[in-house]
Symmetry: D2
Subunit: 459 residues, 4 copies
Amino acid sequence: MRTLWDKGYEVNEKVRKFLVGDRLEVNAELTRADAIGSIAHAKMLASIGILTEEEFEKLQEGLVEIIELSERGEFQLTIEDEDIHTKIENFLTERYGEAGKRIHTARSRNDQIILDTRIYTREKLLKVEQVLLALCQALLDFSERNKDVPMPGYTHLQRAMGSSVGLWSASFLEALLDDLVLLKTAYKLNNQCPLGSAAGYGVSIPIDRQLTSDLLGFEKVQNNTLYVQNSRGKIEGIVLSALSQIMSDLSRMANDMVLFYTSEFGFFTFPDELRTGSSIMPQKKNLDVMEVVRAKAKIIFSYCGLEYSLIESLPSGYSRDTKETKKPLLEGLDLTISTLEVCELVVHQIIVNKDKLREACSPEIFAADRAYQLVREEGMPFRDAYRKVSADLNELKKMKPEEVKNLIISRDHLGAPGNLGLDKLQKQIDEERGLLEGEYDFLESKYSSLLGERISLRN
Amino acid sequence: MRTLWDKGYEVNEKVRKFLVGDRLEVNAELTRADAIGSIAHAKMLASIGILTEEEFEKLQEGLVEIIELSERGEFQLTIEDEDIHTKIENFLTERYGEAGKRIHTARSRNDQIILDTRIYTREKLLKVEQVLLALCQALLDFSERNKDVPMPGYTHLQRAMGSSVGLWSASFLEALLDDLVLLKTAYKLNNQCPLGSAAGYGVSIPIDRQLTSDLLGFEKVQNNTLYVQNSRGKIEGIVLSALSQIMSDLSRMANDMVLFYTSEFGFFTFPDELRTGSSIMPQKKNLDVMEVVRAKAKIIFSYCGLEYSLIESLPSGYSRDTKETKKPLLEGLDLTISTLEVCELVVHQIIVNKDKLREACSPEIFAADRAYQLVREEGMPFRDAYRKVSADLNELKKMKPEEVKNLIISRDHLGAPGNLGLDKLQKQIDEERGLLEGEYDFLESKYSSLLGERISLRN
Amino acid sequence: MRTLWDKGYEVNEKVRKFLVGDRLEVNAELTRADAIGSIAHAKMLASIGILTEEEFEKLQEGLVEIIELSERGEFQLTIEDEDIHTKIENFLTERYGEAGKRIHTARSRNDQIILDTRIYTREKLLKVEQVLLALCQALLDFSERNKDVPMPGYTHLQRAMGSSVGLWSASFLEALLDDLVLLKTAYKLNNQCPLGSAAGYGVSIPIDRQLTSDLLGFEKVQNNTLYVQNSRGKIEGIVLSALSQIMSDLSRMANDMVLFYTSEFGFFTFPDELRTGSSIMPQKKNLDVMEVVRAKAKIIFSYCGLEYSLIESLPSGYSRDTKETKKPLLEGLDLTISTLEVCELVVHQIIVNKDKLREACSPEIFAADRAYQLVREEGMPFRDAYRKVSADLNELKKMKPEEVKNLIISRDHLGAPGNLGLDKLQKQIDEERGLLEGEYDFLESKYSSLLGERISLRN
Amino acid sequence: MRTLWDKGYEVNEKVRKFLVGDRLEVNAELTRADAIGSIAHAKMLASIGILTEEEFEKLQEGLVEIIELSERGEFQLTIEDEDIHTKIENFLTERYGEAGKRIHTARSRNDQIILDTRIYTREKLLKVEQVLLALCQALLDFSERNKDVPMPGYTHLQRAMGSSVGLWSASFLEALLDDLVLLKTAYKLNNQCPLGSAAGYGVSIPIDRQLTSDLLGFEKVQNNTLYVQNSRGKIEGIVLSALSQIMSDLSRMANDMVLFYTSEFGFFTFPDELRTGSSIMPQKKNLDVMEVVRAKAKIIFSYCGLEYSLIESLPSGYSRDTKETKKPLLEGLDLTISTLEVCELVVHQIIVNKDKLREACSPEIFAADRAYQLVREEGMPFRDAYRKVSADLNELKKMKPEEVKNLIISRDHLGAPGNLGLDKLQKQIDEERGLLEGEYDFLESKYSSLLGERISLRN
């Protein structure tokens, strides 16, 4: 096939392969996004008289067919197609002649690929929210079940104070809800329509950028045409930065699980279906899955840093370096989704070993409580109480399980083991779910209008 | 002086120095934040009967004095003081006896340092917003003055299409306004009150965390006590991630300026007060300042990555690794502020060389406009128009300056050179300034109540 | 198929997929390395009586067949095979019964995958050296051709002093020769035989680790069995760090080329086969390939950082996180090779625009030379000479091309434009080539012995 | 004072402060290096007749005095001095008139600061080697003392096989000896004399670069003058990359120590002088120092990445961005030295809890040994033996301590617990110490010649 910029010469084979890299595979995923964007663009072109209504309908039909072909795996890019945009234009031109040649009016591959990425990212971010909320629910349920189960609280990995399994698990839940704030900010910044910026300097055609943006359900037009180009990689970095925070929290949770699963701690164990064996040590059953979660967190963060470094030294305006911003974004989104899913699966199945936990709540971890008791009951200044307890740690006696539990739960100010605030957290999860459903409904109605058929984005 | 945890033995000198590192200097900056937080904490302790009203008043007086001493440079940490918290408690105990020994009731240095950092960061983030908005205004004014000045638009650093100086400068303005969204999200997540989490497991005292939070003007209590500890480094990373985006935009702007200032481009020049010389080449006048902006951007990003890496592999609960999260945050905030200030200074003084710019708008950059003309005026499909123009590039003639300008400005859809939307951007800047002033007013009133005197956070 | 550690239960499908990730594809590349390592291991087992000579021969035959199948694409991993080691053991057991079940004696998949990676990396590093030396040769030839072609030398991207095209190109040649030192250090550290460390704690079999190491042509046995495991990711990071330095140099060279190819500089141009076009701007011919080189450099460095971060927080002994160390290494090696190849291709074809270069050598860049002249000829102290020239820059007159060239070339101390030392550099390249050929010969003879047939590693 | 490039105008105060940053403090450390380099440069200038012998002697005298003043803290940079080079030239000019004005002949601040950094780095790298070898010795002694002390070996942090404390500690020793290879490569690449490259394009004076290089004891002249400039940041990055590997190993060792010091593991404890307390929990004694080691490792790696990112996108030739390459290098060197020292201190004082270790060697960790026994004694194929043991793990009985030890030690192939090869490692340490002393002697003799007095670099 012919490149869109064909000038009658061939690019060196080695150079061509080097430029394409693994783009082939990556672009295929964006086919649906590209087709939907093209329909909206065509509709706008029709509204300003560049296309006739009939031409628009033909192109719409062709683009819907491309989506279907693509879903059946029959619209594969080959090394001959320069990219997905070229393949689609060539397909439409072959099928519909003139109309096909007009589809690229008033846009460039530069704004088109940004549009595709924004559409694709938007849908994946909703999916991230969905699985994140599912994990939040799993953590909340687990916290509820284990809110009264004593666990030593650690500082410096040394036993510090009495804590609870519920406090531990709910801490990740709250972290994830903070991450959701970042996720929604990234969603908002991604949700700007770049189309019409063309190569970064606009077009000499009186296009209606607001219309295209509205048709595609974007929150707003990304205004300055040069900024649109310069924001490539930037928005990607912002998305990956939000994903990194999620992954960092999961990494720490995974790290704790690996530790709590050791013979030495022994607080948690897991069903066989979550464990793997060794090729030479017959007794081993490892929690590999949580180790891989840690590793994936590092991968996502390296992707985030890569986005940043790819663009920070570029001059204004499009440079080809930015093509490398796509792969880390796409992989990062998928990895985050699968990691969240795996974590949800694991959280549901943690087996809590209450005996080991109780045993680990050794008397000295109640030293601070004892000092506070002296403050409360005898009015002793805290620093004196601290010194008194410090001087005679042996005074701290082994307590009965029930006493241990009660002492821990008696710390009941906001956020303490005896007052996790799970009801409020449940309410927050429910509200976020409602907002998410609303956004799904909104996008589905927009896409359905464009495609002329009802489609679902929730899978 | 005595450590708060004194147990009758000395820590090895080498270890002690290794642990302190350059913390001395860093902590001094946090003295005011620590004192304000301590007043709020004392007031809350008084409200639940741990301190008498009289004790509270003494402590408040002592803490106000500490702030004054500190501002006069008379409250310096030495290697003997373990940290600022210790120094303050020791000062208060020496001065007020019992009351001083009670100040640490129901809190730990762990939640205290987080509180100090949040208070400090909050104020610095407002300052970042302030100087960012000042730079936005400078960019807007510059864009207004230069909106009709033709400039070649580049892709791949090759002349691509006709653009304008105003489009170039306004692109950074819009980028910075997007960054402001990130900045405000970081502000929001930072604006959670950690106090009362103590060492991460709460305290056996019925403290009123909501009251302390309200007294200090936080948006909400950061609930789960373990999450509070785990969020150390996380919030810092989120703040630095927002700063990184700002710096990345400034880096690209700086990069463009360095390029446009070359003899070869020659689009911009700068007054002498912004340029430095060489020790061996008599003719040199360099724009070092913009090179340093680029470098600082890399430093900020490395700080951002450092925050992330410091915590992602830690077990839940406090570990000393997190003490290293403070320095990159504090330096990052200051560096971003000074970089924004320097950029504002430079943007105001760019000297635009219209002749060089005009000369650079060579005929071939209007090839796309010519193709669009064929589309508009002759109804030719875009791909055919592209090929026609491509086949005879010599047809593109040199135009008169006025024609060049008019052609560029005739691209007037949303965000194009002829329609930058500066009015809307001015409105947005003004609104953001209003919000910023409101937050300053709110915090000043809170702090003034605590200190018993009117203080200003705007400098 | 059956896992090697089969315990009669199934791992959850989601977990299994998450664990495998994209390992399938990656491992296939290591098949040959694994088979060669297995032959050496079997030979050692035979030498200590664990295998009979006959069993060894069968296994050798089977392993040679696996290599052949693999090269014909007929030994593909599927999701059912846990990994390449499992597939090979299962294949051998099916084919040869008992002997197959004995092949895993005295090793673990943990030391086996490290061995595979070391063998694979060793060969790829030789390839990197080969293409690096080819690029050095291209740079040397280009420098020789252009050693007398004047070019402005820049500091701060401002014209600074007269320089030459040859000085510019030879600077990269010397950088790459320094990189070669790093590459050879990485080769050396990688060239340690890990086999026999098993899961990190050795085996209760009196294996002869030195023999296996010698058979495989390693420089030495990597001794401490736990260090072997802990060095996974470490050696990978060291390799990628060396590759990063190469890529950083290529990135800067690419950056210069992009700049020198602008209309404004215009120093270099390139034949069409190295340039690509735009879909909307008919006139564009871009040097995308050099932009992608820059981007790839950033990718390699992010891989380097990833290796480091993956392992730095792990406890001693194998953790599954380390499986993620493989992909960045393998991709990093391939990317560096293809980037070096592309750069060699481009360097050969740079078209030097002598007119533009001459024009850019404006009189003021000889100010320092003028000051030195005053020092040399009039004995004036340098600082006085500097000030005298500085005060009257207009005294510097436009020179004839020949004068410009002569003045530049007259700077002829070591390493200056007039004395590039290309002969010495050629000698160094030749010596390195000789060493490389020697290492190829050595490894080929070792592999040929193991496989019972002559094989070539040079392609 | 006057800048070297004084042109009769003042640089804007804000810009000046932004440019200087924290350079003041940093540069002071380089004073001695600068003075030594200046003496060598002056001697060379005398050898080619630019200075008289008498002038050289004056300058030498003045420079020696500067070193003495600087060591007494009486040669402090102020904000008025632009940099150390300027301050020194001004000092010499004031003192010796003409001779002072001639010192800057044939060099630029660009090559001068590189020279200073190389000299400074060279000395610090020797110090790193020295403390690294001291830590190696501490690890070797500890390994020797504990080579027969059983310890569980872990994979996935699960007990895997019987191991020994000596195997654990010797694993870090071998890692550090590999790091030493990297360190020496970095030393070699740093040990190239940059002087004479001036601003990157050489000078119009027939300088003798080989002589200066020899006088300063460099291994060779760094030839290409442009490469000298481009290698700024590159060499720094290579040094920091070597330091990162050291720190990564120390981080893992520290991580293990923190884990082994938990109540749950309880393998190690430490004397009070290495532990610190908590302000609210009276019972706590924490190993903060090893947590800080982990954190410092991350800081060093972030510095390494920063060096890389600072330069990878720069055009050829000096840019001011590179001034930021100095601080991370200097801090990185010092941090690595202090971390190695602290680790040595700690390794000497580890208290090994043999009872806890013995207890942790639970029977199942000998499952693989049992399988190997079946292979050895009954000739059973390994896979069958594995399955047999796997099917009846309860067959593994608790052994007596002596049996446990003997079983572990019976694994005695190269590098296994029973054969650590400590003698060979001691020999290697001794050899490296000898080489280090030789290099110290060589540099001291060179410096003594230049300064006219005996100086010691070993402290």
